[in-house]
């Protein structure tokens, strides 16, 4: 979820209305799926966390202000920037088709960048590319000082070692392959190009390299500075709709900041695309649909009014979606916007009326009965994580390992509850003995080419006289109450002392293990008391 920081005064200027911080906080949660994380009074900086990962136009003060202008009735209906046509061109070479096929661009002129505005533009660029742009894979954005560029600009893909330039934050010439190997941004984003034979490159008509999308700009042309007043914006990516969205959002923001926006013709050989497109889409929305989704009985006029608050225009029974939004897939999306504009706090609630019978899962009652029997025998229940240290398991047959674990402590799925109980014993050497503990829970293991999960229960007892007989007493009492017949056959298992370990058999099938914990295992865990334990598969026990 994106988090952005901006000047609260700037926001109010964009809004064109004073708003107290408290009102701002309330409005954010009530309307904008967002909340204030902090406010730095000295700097007048507010930090906002946004929930909607699919609505990038709100990830900046311009977009938030635009949204609230509608909600508060300061503007009505669909807002559009003025885009002037121009002869600027980006010529796309067919070589980019297999690596990064799309580009959108525009030129913005006429307002000097100050430090704050530059920072805002860079923040929006980063948030958009990291979040919506899928860490630059789907979309990445470049900004350039207009005065250094000779149009038309050329977008093409080249052999990695055939082009060289000095990237930003570097002091010498590198070719594209070297940038991926040596430059910090190159290393960070090299994964995007791991399967590419040729790399994308943007250069002007004089052959001056502007950037190596989506990695880094050139230090001579690809740097925007305080005091610059004219710039070129471009977004490249793998999805045309997304690069167009980026251009629409940025063009709108810069227009609202006082820039003149000029379109750029992107020439794909056979066809041209003039960006920012500022194309609107329409979607059918009737009072019936709104009622179906929200339960609100509204007239067509009321729906139109609420749509205008939410930034839409209306045309008959259609809502016109603003070009800075690409999240509207279905009428339910529009219906939600109507409900938000109406105010969730004003929507009356209604109870459910249908009668249904509540039921716990069939195994729950049996398991709980068993847990209570074990407690009655004096055992303390423990509740552990299912993820475990792959090094701590006793008998690693069938262990399910995680491919991308963060720490060894949680690197595998437990295939037995015994290690968890040993962990309890090893951590509580100074607690009073006897220590009688148990756990019931899901365990899992590989079986053939698949995975099996089942309920397991394990008991352990540690004290100076803990032994097999004690465990067998508990086990037989438990199985007596579960009306199951107990048979124990000698078995060998690394967790138990040889000759004092048994396999628990039911209906001819092994369903568990019982024994005295081997001193080697106790020593490994640093447990200083003898211990005995039992573990049984409850799914077998209950399968009748």
């Amino acid at each position: 979820m994106p988090t952005i920081t901006f000047s609260f005064r700037d926001f109010q200027q964009l809004l064109g209305k004073k708003m107290s911080l408290e009102q701002f906080e309330d409005n954010l949660t009530l309307y904008a799926k967002a909340e204030v994380e902090k406010y730095d009074k000295a700097k007048d900086e507010v930090t906002v966390k946004l929930d909607d990962t699919n609505l990038p136009y709100t990830w900046c003060p311009e977009g938030l202000a635009r949204f609230f202008k509608g909600i508060l009735g300061l503007s009505k209906g669909l807002q559009k920037p003025t885009v002037k046509s121009s002869s600027y061109k980006v010529i796309v070479d067919s070589s980019v088709k297999h690596v990064r096929p799309y580009i959108a661009a525009f030129v913005a002129k006429g307002r000097k960048l100050d430090d704050y505005l530059l920072k805002q533009i860079i923040q929006m660029q980063e948030k958009f590319c990291e979040g919506y742009g899928r860490r630059r894979q789907k979309v990445s954005i470049g900004l350039y000082a207009y005065k250094k560029i000779t149009f038309p600009v050329h977008y093409k893909a080249v052999e990695p070692s055939s082009a060289r330039f000095t990237p930003l934050e570097y002091d010498r010439l590198l070719n594209l392959r070297q940038i991926l190997e040596l430059h910090p941004k190159g290393r960070q984003y090299a994964w995007i190009l791991r399967d590419a034979a040729k790399y994308p490159l943007l250069e002007d008509d004089k052959g001056e390299i502007l950037s190596f999308p989506p990695i880094i700009n050139s230090s001579s042309t690809g740097r925007l500075e305080v005091g610059d007043s004219d710039m070129l914006f471009e977004a490249t990516g793998t999805d045309e709709e997304s690069v167009n969205l980026a251009a629409n959002i940025f063009a709108h923001n810069l227009f609202e900041r006082g820039f003149e926006v000029f379109s750029v013709t992107v020439s794909y050989g056979g066809r041209n695309s003039i960006t920012p497109q500022q194309k609107t889409e329409k979607i059918s929305i009737t009072p019936e649909t709104v009622e179906e989704v929200t339960g609100l009985k509204l007239t067509a006029a009321q729906v139109r009014q609420l749509l205008a608050k939410a930034g839409y225009d209306s045309s008959g029974s259609f809502a016109i979606v603003p070009p800075y939004r690409a999240d509207i897939m279905h009428a339910v999306d529009v219906a939600e916007d109507v409900a938000i504009a109406y105010g969730f706090d004003k929507i009356p609630d209604e109870p459910l009326k249908s009668y249904t019978i509540g039921l716990p899962h069939p195994s729950v009652q049996k398991i709980n009965k068993l847990r209570k029997s074990v407690v009655a025998m004096g055992f303390q229940e423990v509740f552990s994580h299912i993820l475990t240290d792959k090094g701590s398991v006793v008998g690693s047959a069938g262990i399910i390992e995680l491919g991308n674990y963060m720490s060894e402590t949680y690197s595998a799925v437990r295939n037995s509850l015994l290690p968890q109980l040993l962990d309890v014993l090893s951590r509580n050497k100074h607690a009073d003995y006897p220590q009688k503990i148990f756990e019931e829970g899901i365990i899992a293991a590989r079986e053939g080419s698949g995975i099996t999960e089942w309920h397991s229960m394990a008991l352990a007892s540690a004290h100076s006289k803990a032994d097999f007989t004690e465990m067998k007493q508990y086990l037989s009492s438990l199985l007596a109450s579960a009306a199951a017949k107990l048979e124990i056959r000698p078995a060998e298992h690394p967790a138990f002392i040889k000759g004092r370990a048994g396999s628990i058999i039911m209906d001819g099938k092994p369903v568990g293990l019982i024994g005295e914990i081997s001193p080697a295992i106790l020593a490994k865990w640093g447990i200083e008391m003898p211990a005995a334990a039992v573990e049984i598969n409850l799914d077998f026990l209950f399968s009748d």
Binding site: N54, G358, I386, A431
Partner: protein, 512 residues
């Protein structure tokens, strides 16, 4: 007084009675143990009781005791390296390599020996060409005959020795040996002495003449009627008794049982699902696009082997694929990208219990109207701290019914606030989840905790519901951050304590 003494004598424990006579003869506790032929714990316990009753006075002294260390034990038997060095030179001067061989010394030992013996002026180097050699000095010859003092100390003394019994010369030897590795081991030992008080002496006298008392009533006494003559020893009723740790259910797990009970009582049926889940049921069936950030390698745990589920319902996969790519005839545009069937079968650790809901919606036994809930373990690729776990519980559910809408959703959320936070003060605000539209978050004002986010909810998107159920029936879905409520109920500040392995904590925890 006399009466009191008799009473005390009558209430003496078997162990006290046994120790009392020896206490009159010996003052050292070890001597007493030896004389009484009892176990140390028994004597110590008896002495403690006697002291508490004012019959004995027990004093503890702390003593420094010197024992042999690992090397000390060795050198006491097989001589110190310098002694062996000295012996090797007894008959004639030798080059160093010969000395080492004869005396069985390694480089370190030989070096240390030369240092010690030079300081004692016992050896001197032989000057001349060739390898370094040594011979005994006059003093050395004397020492070779009489033996090194340190050696005599090590081999001659009976260890352990009390430090205060050392002579001045021995103290110096000890100081020298202390600097060397593992020759001496020093310990601080407590020694106990005990004497009878005046009352103690009187009680001893009285006890000698008092009638034998009985400690325990036995089945035998009952059978034979011997109990009639028995005089029972009276107990010290104020003596502390050790605590019994009775069995207990784990408090967090019990809390989850309570939650389960609540949902069942509200008419919800429980649903379950596997913890190792396919991306299909966990995400794709929920209409979460395959490029969604929560599906990143840094957000979900992937199974190393096997990598793919083999039991996906292929026809359903096709429908879900269509929903992602083009909306599956729901009137939606869909997410408009190329859906990967390989990715959908990738096995992961379930990241949300919503996976249980997608399975339920697709199952043949789905009831309409129906209310379902799941309490299940979920897994996230997170750094563990006081607020985050890699492995935690979620409570989720769905309500499937014709004509449900946002107003019912808000009603249901208000009901949950009442059930779980006992409050009518709630805020339902817009929220975002990729699989619900509209989406809402529930904040409840807890009487003690103030406003807290209790959970998220929404109405499943048509693009999700239609492929799974075959129709566009409204499905309200909700999830409650149950861990947060549990922490409050159990009075915990650190989420890790929910899965605590601290036995004292568990034994003392209040069960909800």
């Amino acid at each position: 007084m006399a009466q009191n003494v008799l009473e005390i004598a009558a209430s003496l424990h078997r162990l006290e009675r046994a120790v009392l006579p020896h206490l009159a003869k010996h003052s050292s506790v070890p001597d007493m143990i030896a004389a009484a032929k009892m176990q140390e714990v028994e004597v110590v316990r008896a002495l403690n009781w006697l002291q508490n009753k004012g019959l004995a006075k027990v004093t503890e002294a702390i003593e420094e005791v010197i024992a042999l260390g690992e090397n000390g034990e060795l050198y006491a038997k097989s001589l110190l390296p310098e002694a062996r060095f000295l012996n090797a030179l007894k008959s004639k001067p030798l080059p160093l390599s010969e000395i080492k061989k004869t005396a069985g010394l390694d480089d370190d030992e030989a070096g240390a020996s030369i240092g010690v013996l030079m300081r004692l002026k016992a050896i001197e180097p032989v000057t001349g060409p060739g390898e370094k050699a040594f011979r005994l000095s006059e003093q050395g010859k004397e020492l070779a005959k009489s033996g090194l003092k340190t050696q005599k100390f090590l081999s001659g003394k009976k260890f352990p020795i009390k430090a205060k019994e050392l002579s001045e010369e021995e103290k110096q030897i000890v100081a020298g040996l202390r600097t060397r590795k593992d020759i001496l081991a020093e310990e601080i030992v407590k020694s106990r002495t005990a004497t009878l008080t005046e009352t103690g002496k009187a009680v001893l006298k009285a006890a000698a003449t008092a009638k034998e008392t009985v400690d325990r009533l036995t089945p035998e006494m009952l059978a034979t009627g011997k109990w009639k003559e028995a005089q029972f020893r009276s107990y010290d009723l104020t003596a502390p008794a050790p605590r019994v740790f009775f069995g207990k259910l784990q408090p967090y797990r019990e809390f989850l049982e309570e939650v389960r009970g609540k949902f069942v009582s509200m008419g919800f049926e429980e649903m379950t699902g596997p913890i190792v889940e396919s991306e299909f049921w966990n995400m794709d069936a929920l209409f979460m696009p395959q490029f969604h950030s929560a599906r990143d390698i840094h957000d979900v745990y992937y199974i190393k082997e096997p990598k793919f589920a083999t039991d996906l319902p292929q026809q359903l996969v096709k429908k879900v694929k269509a929903a992602h790519e083009n909306g599956f005839g729901t009137g939606s545009k869909g997410w408009r990208y190329e859906f990967s069937e390989e990715k959908t079968s990738r096995l992961i650790m379930r990241s949300q219990t919503t996976a249980c809901s997608s399975r339920k919606l697709a199952s043949k036994d789905l009831k309409i109207p129906g209310k379902y809930f799941a309490i299940g373990r979920c897994f996230r690729y997170d750094v563990i701290d006081a607020k985050h776990l890699a492995d935690f519980n979620q409570v989720e559910g769905i309500v499937v019914e014709e004509k449900l809408n946002l107003r019912h959703l808000i009603g249901l959320l208000k009901l949950f606030a009442k059930e779980f936070c006992n409050t009518d003060k709630v805020k339902v605000v817009p929220s975002y989840f990729p699989f619900t539209e509209p989406s809402a978050s529930l904040y409840a004002k807890h009487p003690e905790l103030g406003w807290m986010e209790l959970g998220g909810a929404g109405i499943f998107r048509p693009e999700m519901v239609k492929p799974l159920t075959g129709s566009h029936i409204p499905v309200i879905a909700w999830g409650i951050g149950i861990d947060r409520v549990a922490m409050f109920k159990l009075g915990l500040n650190d989420i890790r304590e929910l899965f605590s392995h601290d036995l004292n904590f568990l034994r003392n925890a209040k069960v909800a």
